[in-house]
């Protein structure tokens, strides 16, 4: 369980970018999480709610875009999901395959209110 450490890191990044852009409130965080990256459970929202309390990100929603782990065949270029039994190309039977995706682990963007908007309302 390292959700707490992950949320602390997330908060630091989000607050930094919010401040740089003059945001007054962070409403959503858009995360891209590959299947091969650190396990991040949906329960992270719970830790986030604790970590972000008292900041401009309090109550923000975490959106996950999950990227499945995929393999690519070096012989026929077929791409297929990584399963947990064998790493063999289902199209041509080749064992010459490599990792094609699933290592993503980043904060893609944040949705915020900007200072100017706040004055309008």
């Amino acid at each position: 369980m390292h959700e707490l450490a992950v949320t602390q890191s997330l908060l630091q990044i989000a607050l930094h970018h919010a401040k740089e852009n003059g945001a007054t409130r962070i409403k959503e965080l858009n995360l891209v999480i590959g299947q091969l990256s650190s396990i991040v459970d949906d329960s992270i929202q719970f830790y986030w709610d604790m970590t972000a309390k008292g900041t401009i990100a309090e109550g923000a929603i975490l959106n996950f875009r999950r990227i499945p782990a995929t393999l690519r065949c070096n012989d026929c270029a077929h791409e297929f999901p990584m399963d947990q039994r064998d790493f063999i190309c289902p199209a041509c039977g080749s064992k010459r395959v490599g990792v094609a995706g699933g290592e993503e682990f980043f904060l893609e963007s944040i949705d915020v209110d900007l200072a100017s908007e706040k004055q309008e309302t």
Partner: protein, 221 residues
């Protein structure tokens, strides 16, 4: 109406910055730093003891222990090896900051080799860069030959892989080819050493490879 601010920053970038500081300190000290990862019971402690025993007269070695169960510190103490216990607070992994905090407890400048024993876990430690030169993963025969398929991230991030308890292979029906195929797909060309801490088989190859790596680091420093 929301404004979308693009960020595109690694979620653990704060950890990676501290890892970079650790890396710098290891470079300055001219030592080789290893991050040892395995399941609980995979043989981290046995590999450390056997490795230290074999190399302690040639190199100055230090050990940092982040495992929740303190390894046999007395045995290392008897060998005159500086040892530091990292307080993980029950965490599932070491991060760069924990290691950074423990660096002052070890005489880095005197060392040729620093071994950091991570928490026994095949999932979480793989995500956290500690700033070491080499990530060493120890798998063991009784865990089963399907582990690279089940825990791909750990095997993908390894620089060197030890397969321990080879003396049990014939009893466990462990298929080395199947195991190695999974590893090769995830991590082509990774260094691989089948060993047995009990019989000592395979240790010569691992030790001579490690000697080579320490010497390269020494010359660089």
């Amino acid at each position: 109406m929301s404004n979308n601010i693009p960020v595109v920053q690694n979620i653990l970038s704060a950890n990676d910055q501290i890892a970079q500081q650790n890396r710098q300190q290891f470079e300055t000290a001219g030592l080789l730093a290893l991050n040892l990862m395995a399941s609980p019971g995979g043989g981290k402690t046995s590999v450390i003891l056997k490795t230290v025993q074999a190399l302690k007269d040639e190199f100055q070695i230090g050990v940092m222990d982040g495992d929740v169960v303190a390894i046999d510190l007395e045995e290392l103490d008897k060998m005159g090896i500086p040892v530091s216990l990292i307080n993980t607070g029950g965490n599932c992994h070491l991060d760069a900051n924990m290691v950074h905090g423990a660096l002052p407890t070890i005489p880095l400048n005197d060392l040729d080799l620093l071994i950091i024993e991570n928490v026994g876990n095949l999932i979480c430690p793989s995500a956290w860069d500690l700033g070491v030169h080499l990530n060493v993963v120890i798998a063991s025969v009784p865990e089963g030959d399907d582990k690279p398929y089940k825990y791909p991230a750990m095997f993908k991030g390894a620089d060197v892989l030890l397969l321990n308890k080879m003396d049990l292979q014939e009893y466990m029906g462990f298929k080395v080819d199947y195991f190695r195929h999974g590893v090769e797909v995830l991590n082509p060309g990774v260094e691989f050493f089948p060993v047995s801490c009990r019989t000592g088989d395979g240790f010569d190859a691992w030790l001579s490879w490690l000697r080579q790596k320490i010497s390269e680091r020494d010359r660089a420093g």
